[in-house]
């Protein structure tokens, strides 16, 4: 399956335009190399907690703190180029598309700002908070809301294309591939929607609500559930190919690289499973609880859990740990020369 070119990161630029790197929410795909950080290049103090993950394009890092302040930070200097104050709290990771930066707000609105100036271009309203990260495909922005609806709006204007009522609150960020949207729901189902019409292609029930954001690879969709299981579903039919049980619920989103899927569980372990079979390659306890998604660099897995942790991709052994970067849901941005980390205590770091 091919993701939309408009929002897929370019290897050459090192851009990271959306949650978990790209429209398939792959979590890095092992593209970037990185080593244990020696020192911070800069540190930016947002002053309030940051729950959302940063995104990056054209040497500008975009970070939103929970109090609703969006910062556009020059990655060379570590200084804010501009900021935008949302009317309420923000838990949504922004996405970049064309000249827009898109994110949801706790007042139920989704905002599109000019990413060079911070000027508002459009906004749309939903009936409850939007914590999900918008995704853009074929000039359409897709996002779920806690009002139990999934929305599609025109990327350039915000005009509604369609909306569909799912069975529960939506906190899972959608992935898109081959014209199909994949999104988890509080009613415990993973939905596959037709991106053009919003009609349900299939839905598959798990044993509890889904907070985890699905990842797509080839013909499979992978997602965790609060029922303690990670599922691999056939992308065309929703049939369960395999499932693997962890010790507690899974809200962490899976990350993909070649033949391995990596996911964290609330039982404190990170699990690496074979994508084709669901067979366990390794599991490593990194904290008492893992809720943040991992990402995959060249030969290593990285996630924010308590601090910043890196595991060897082949064995799961701890490579290094840094005390900064506590997070519930944030994910670092990885480039060839730096790692950008936003933390729950309101600090943003460029590590090198």
């Amino acid at each position: 399956m091919q993701a939309d070119k408009n929002s897929v990161a370019s290897d050459a630029t090192g851009d990271w335009p959306t949650l978990l790197h790209d429209n398939m929410r792959s979590g890095g795909m092992g593209l970037q190399n990185a080593h244990a950080p020696n020192r911070p290049r800069w540190q930016f103090r947002a002053g309030r907690s940051i729950r959302a993950a940063p995104v990056l394009r054209d040497k500008v890092l975009y970070v939103i703190s929970v109090d609703g302040t969006l910062y556009a930070i020059d990655v060379v200097t570590g200084r804010s180029k501009f900021s935008f104050q949302a009317p309420k709290h923000v838990h949504s990771t922004p996405s970049l598309w064309a000249s827009l930066i898109l994110f949801g707000c706790d007042d139920g609105r989704v905002f599109a700002l000019n990413c060079n100036s911070g000027t508002k271009v459009w906004e749309v309203r939903t009936g409850a908070e939007v914590w999900t990260s918008p995704i853009v495909w074929q000039k359409t922005v897709f996002f779920g809301s806690a009002d139990a609806h999934f929305y599609a709006v025109e990327a350039e204007t915000g005009k509604q294309r369609w909306t569909t009522d799912l069975g529960g609150k939506i906190y899972s960020s959608a992935a898109v591939a081959d014209g199909k949207l994949f999104v988890g729901c509080g009613d415990g189902k993973l939905y596959c929607l037709d991106a053009s019409s919003g009609k349900t292609v299939w839905s598959t029930a798990t044993g509890n609500g889904i907070d985890s954001s699905p990842a797509v690879t080839n013909d499979l969709v992978l997602v965790g559930s609060e029922d303690f299981l990670i599922y691999a579903l056939d992308a065309k039919t929703g049939t369960v190919r395999w499932k693997y049980q962890t010790g507690l619920g899974i809200v962490s989103s899976p990350a993909l690289s070649d033949d391995i899927v990596v996911v964290g569980s609330k039982d404190g372990f990170v699990y690496a499973l074979e994508i084709a079979t669901g067979q366990l390659r390794w599991k490593t306890q990194v904290a008492e609880v893992v809720t943040a998604p991992p990402l995959i660099g060249a030969g290593f897995v990285c996630l924010q859990s308590g601090g910043l942790v890196a595991l060897d991709m082949a064995s799961g052994k701890m490579l290094w740990r840094a005390g900064l970067g506590g997070s519930v849901q944030s994910v670092p941005v990885l480039t060839s020369d730096a790692m950008y980390v936003a933390s729950l205590d309101g600090e943003v770091y460029a590590l090198q």
């Binding site: 309030r48 929970v66 806690a146 609150k169 509080g186 609060e226 010790g247 619920g249 008492e288 609880v289």
Partner: protein
């Protein structure tokens, strides 16, 4: 209140009063260190609050319905259909009403704005089970309260986040974390507070959450069944007092804690006292050591219990006995022990060794709350009704 407690009006012209020298529960200490007396505590409730007969200890002082079903939790998974039966039978037994809606109507009216106070600290290993909260929501809606008038809340957003309540509760139900970051006091009512200087801390006030002081009309309290390193247990009282007022960690400074008497005083502050009409203790997981934050499964017994009542002191008294009994069975020291050798400053040692603790526990806060009139703290006077379903 006993003879060592005195009350007087303040010069501030509000409902404030001082309480000094709260009943020393050191009388109940088994041995060891002598614990310091709490300094005077000034309590400022919301002026002109008319006490409600539904407020603590509520319609059924001293009555606790204990519903046990071993099938309610298997392999750390809580079975919502089993919970539904437990809750229905327990509520009918508590109220004497033949139908479930009639039982709930004793406490909730369609016009109410209902706050469900959960305890997400300790998530995911031990927190208010979303399955129980969902059943409570269903029951409240069955009385005629619309979803938009139900809010599930606690102080800390990030703990709610870890518990996954946003996703796991039905659409239309509000989920509120009062604090979204360190030092965030925007969610508190600055006119309602308890003031005391325990250890020379710079901020000596603890404010009541605005959602309680101003927004909701009724509170259903859903605490967990847990040991607590400072308070002895965290149950109905602590989930309300320390889960509604901010800046409470200052009442502990190792190895001492002033949870007794602060917890009871906070719970007696209006309008928290009047709005708290029902308590449903989630005893699916029984943490007998390492609370409130432990994730160590060795100390978490899957008990499958609900304790239901309107009297928080009576429920917490039973909780205290239950955890004390479990500790004894497991060879752990009494909650009441105050042996200096048990104190450690090492969190990991505390989490993995049931003979160690970070503070001298203060389980006497439950009895102290009873002396403030919040309920019945003598086991012999508690009407304990046990229902074993499986």
């Amino acid at each position: 209140m006993d003879r060592r407690t005195f009350v007087k009006s303040t010069c501030l012209g509000t409902a404030g009063f001082f309480i000094d020298g709260q009943a020393s529960t050191a009388q109940q200490q088994e041995s060891g260190a002598t614990l310091p007396q709490a300094p005077p505590i000034e309590v400022h409730g919301l002026p002109q609050t008319k006490p409600s007969p539904l407020g603590m200890p509520g319609l059924f002082p001293g009555r606790v319905v204990e519903v046990v079903d071993r099938n309610s939790i298997v392999g750390n998974r809580v079975a919502q259909p089993v919970i539904r039966q437990m809750l229905e039978k327990g509520m009918r037994e508590l109220t004497g009403e033949p139908s479930v809606p009639a039982a709930w109507s004793k406490f909730i009216e369609p016009a109410d704005i209902v706050g469900i106070k959960i305890n997400p600290s300790g998530a995911p290993a031990c927190c208010s089970s979303p399955e129980i909260v969902r059943e409570i929501i269903n029951a409240v809606r069955s009385v005629g309260v619309p979803s938009k008038n139900i809010v599930v809340f606690d102080r800390y957003s990030y703990e709610i986040d870890i518990g996954g309540y946003q996703t796991l509760l039905p659409a239309g139900i509000g989920v509120l974390g009062i604090e979204d970051g360190v030092g965030d006091i925007s969610g508190y009512d600055l006119n309602v507070y308890c003031e005391v200087n325990f250890f020379g801390e710079w901020e000596t006030r603890s404010y009541m959450a605005s959602v309680v002081a101003q927004n909701v009309t009724k509170i259903i309290n859903v605490p967990t069944m847990k040991d607590h390193s400072a308070a002895g247990v965290t149950g109905c009282l602590k989930n309300l007092g320390y889960g509604v007022f901010n800046n409470v960690a200052r009442s502990h400074r190792a190895p001492y804690s002033f949870t007794d008497p602060l917890i009871g005083l906070m719970c007696s502050t209006e309008p928290l006292r009047s709005k708290s009409v029902l308590h449903i203790m989630d005893g699916m997981h029984e943490v007998w050591h390492g609370g409130p934050l432990t994730q160590v499964q060795d100390f978490i017994f899957q008990a499958g219990i609900l304790l239901i009542g309107t009297d928080p002191v009576a429920i917490d008294t039973i909780e205290l006995e239950t955890i004390e009994k479990k500790r004894k069975e497991e060879g752990a020291p009494s909650i009441w022990q105050h042996d200096p050798k048990s104190i450690t400053a090492n969190n990991m040692e505390f989490f993995h060794d049931a003979s160690k603790n970070l503070f001298y526990r203060r389980p006497g806060h439950v009895a102290s709350a009873g002396k403030l009139g919040l309920g019945v703290g003598e086991m012999s006077k508690i009407d304990r009704r046990t229902m074993r379903l499986a």
